[in-house]
Structure formats: C-alpha cells, structure tokens
C-alpha cells in the first residue's frame, strides 16, 4: 500500500522534474518527497484514529490506576502510560507534583517522564513507515527498558531525598496518610461526536506542532541519503568499536530535538551503515536527555537529583547501544541486508 508514495516520488522527481535517478540531487529529492508525503498521510490518519480511542484517558485516571497497583508493576505501568498518554512537556512539572503528592514513588513518576518523549504515536508511526515493524518493536522495547530501568535505579538510590523541600513534604504526607479509599475518578461519558471533536483538535494541535520537525528531519535525512556515500560511517567512524556508542551519546546531547525530527535521520544513518545500536543511542540521547527539560525539573529537584538522573539516563543509553549492536545480526537481518 505504501508503494504509492514511491510511485508519486518517481513520477514527480524523475518524470516531471526530469532528474537523473543516479544523481545525488535526484536521490535526495526523491527520498524527501517519498518520505514527507508518506509520513504526513500516515500521521493524519493515525493521529485521528488514536485520538478517537484515547479521548477518555486523562491523567487523573492514569494516576489512580498506577496508585492502586503493586510497586513493581508500577514501573511498567508508569513507562507504559508515559508512552500512550497525550501529554505536553510543558505539563511535566504539574504532572510530577500531581503524582508525587499522591504518594507515587519518584522512580515510577520518572519512568513516565523518561518514556514519554521517546515513545509516542508520532514516533511509532514514523518508525513503522520508515524502518518496518521489527525495528519499531525493538525501539518501543528499548524506550520502555530505559524508562523502567531508570526509574528503578532512581528508587534504589533513594532519589526522593533530593527533592525540593515542598515536593518532599507533599510526598511524605501522602505516604503517611494513604488515600486508598478515594473513589476511582469516573470515566467521562463521551459520545462519538465528543470523541470526534477531541480527535480533530488533537490532530490540529499535533500536526501544527510537528510539521516543521518532519520537514527538517526528512530534509536532513534526505541530504545524508543523497550526499553521504554508502558505507561512509563504517569507513570513517569505524564499525562497532566500543567507543562509538558513548561517542554517539555525547554527540546527541547538545542536539535538542524531538523524536519526529530524529527518526528520518536515523533511517539514513542506518542505511549508510552506522550500526543500529549506535544510531539508537544517538537518537535517545537527542530526544530524551534535553537541557530545557532538565532546567524545568530544577523547580522541583535539587541539583544532586538532577545530576543523578542525567548520569542514569546516559548510562542507560550506552548499555542499550552496546546491547543492540551485539544483538543486531539476529534482530535486523532484514534491514541490514
């Protein structure tokens, strides 16, 4: 079904445009047209459908649900809801405090916040259309592992010691006087029309926010695709030495971006022979460890906690990168050949 977009790009660039399929400009433009049209078409359809389905999911209910479960299950749920709950990063602080003041452990709240930027419907749709479902599943698994693992380590270190005073107090009060008897917040009763209105607004909001990132990302990916020779990474950066992964994580740090812009770049990097684990480490570091986000969390955390979280995240990215590089001959036989 998705070949339509290849044909469209063939027709537009090689047919109408008369560009040579062998030329650098031709390949770049073809890549750009094929990917942007494909991504936008899929995004519009899928965001709408997903929004229809999750119109009744709100943070109060998510919080209540997590609160009711055993702590160990909490990490998985935290990361899982982080992936599926619609959530704008400007709500990080209120969400953090809302969870904390309900007595949800710091690690579970952070599992939510770690996973949230890495996995979301836009990222999944783009990965699926560009790199296939196997890769998408691995990506989702990694995002969950980074979130769950990060949260657990944080609790093992008793990170809540280093919350700002008012947040620590709120957490303590909640754990001393658990509000178990609080009724489950009722699911809002939504008609199909309500859901449609919600989905329409979500679609407008999300596409309005990300369209330029899609274009920037695909543009960069296209440039890499056309102008960097095949195998360049393997020839120049080495292929799979141990230091590649930490190098990629560090390189990704100053680049503050979201998953939308990074995924098309990832596609090109992988096609050009950068090992998958290294690419993923780079991507996670760009998306999930962003300075603006950290500065925001400073409002509720002491520096010590921020630094700890930062180190945990970076270590997680590296471990994931190494692990995937090690396993990739078995995982991605299809894309790599």
């Amino acid at each position: 079904m998705l070949e339509v977009f290849t044909w469209l790009a063939d027709w537009l660039i090689y047919g109408l445009g008369g560009l040579d399929p062998e030329s650098k400009l031709g390949t770049s433009l073809h890549f750009f047209v094929e990917d942007t049209t494909k991504i936008f078409a899929l995004l519009v359809v899928m965001i709408y459908l997903i929004a229809l389905a999750r119109a009744s999911l709100d943070l109060e209910r998510v919080r209540h649900y997590i609160q009711q479960r055993h702590r160990l299950a909490g990490y998985g749920l935290g990361a899982g809801f982080g992936a599926i709950t619609p959530f704008c990063s400007c709500s990080s602080i209120p969400l953090f405090l809302g969870f904390t003041s309900a007595g949800i452990p710091l690690g579970i709240t952070m599992a939510f916040l770690f996973t949230s930027p890495i996995i979301n419907e836009v990222a999944v749709i783009m990965l699926w259309s560009l790199l296939g479902w196997e890769f998408t599943l691995v990506y989702i698994a990694i995002g969950m592992v980074v979130g769950i693992g990060g949260g657990m380590i944080l609790d093992l270190l008793k990170g809540e010691r280093w919350l700002k005073d008012f947040a620590a107090k709120a957490y303590q009060q909640a754990t001393e006087a658990p509000q178990d008897d609080e009724p489950t917040p009722e699911a809002p009763r939504l008609t199909l029309k309500d859901r449609h209105l919600f989905a329409r607004d979500e679609l407008k909001e999300i596409v309005g926010r990300i369209w330029k990132w899609v274009i920037i990302g695909v543009g960069l990916g296209a440039a890499l695709h056309g102008f960097v020779p095949d195998g360049w990474f393997a020839d120049n950066l080495g292929s799979g030495q141990w230091w590649n992964v930490p190098g990629a994580v560090l390189a990704g740090l100053p680049l503050y971006s979201n998953a939308t812009a990074v995924i098309p770049v990832m596609e090109s990097l992988i096609l050009k022979g950068l090992p998958v684990g290294t690419t993923l480490a780079f991507c996670m570091s760009t998306v999930a460890a962003s300075f603006p986000e950290f500065i925001m969390l400073k409002q509720v955390m002491q520096w010590r906690l921020l630094a700890t979280i930062f180190v945990i995240l970076l270590a997680n990215f590296m471990i994931v990168g190494w692990l995937i590089n090690l396993l990739s001959p078995w995982l991605f036989s299809e894309i790599l050949t």
């Binding site: 709100d58 943070l59 109060e60 919080r63 959530f87 704008c88 400007c90 709500s91 990080s92 602080i93 209120p94 969400l95 405090l97 809302g98 969870f99 003041s101 008012f166 947040a167 709120a170 607004d201 925001m296 409002q299 509720v300």
Partner: protein, 78 residues
C-alpha cells in the same frame, strides 16, 4: 471583581489562555483581574496535573487546555 488565576509553568498555551480571558472579559464588560501563576507549589495546591488551568476566586474551574470562547463566557458569567 473576579480574581482569575491562570495556572501554568509558562508555556505558550498559558499565555494564550490569559490573553483570551482578558479579551473576552473586556468585551463582556466584566471586571476581572487576571494573574498568571507559575509557582509549582501553588499549582500543586490546586491539584492541577495538566496545564493550563484556570481558577476563579480560588476555585479551580478548568484544566488541560486553552478554554474556547464559549467556555470562557460561561465561566465569567457564572
């Protein structure tokens, strides 16, 4: 006079919300004082998890989105 607080950590939506409320109040001729609340502890006090939130005279009346015109009118007239 109604005291209106817009709760949010300073994103664009919160600014929009404050402006919209100010504008609608002006048109309806309702006397309001709009204040942007960015202090996390204060926002926590209202138990808001998704911003922007709106509180009128100390009671939370809306959260999670920029309220549309109709909603603002209802809130201001209430």
């Amino acid at each position: 006079m109604k005291k209106i607080e817009v709760l949010g950590t300073g994103c664009k939506k919160c600014v929009n919300t404050a402006e919209q409320i100010q504008a609608v109040a002006g048109e309806l001729g309702i006397d309001v004082e709009v204040e942007k609340v960015t202090d996390p502890a204060a926002i926590m006090g209202y138990k808001v998890m998704s911003t922007p939130g709106v509180a009128i005279d100390g009671t939370l009346v809306h959260s999670g989105s920029v309220p549309d015109r109709g909603k603002i009118e209802t809130l201001l007239k209430a």
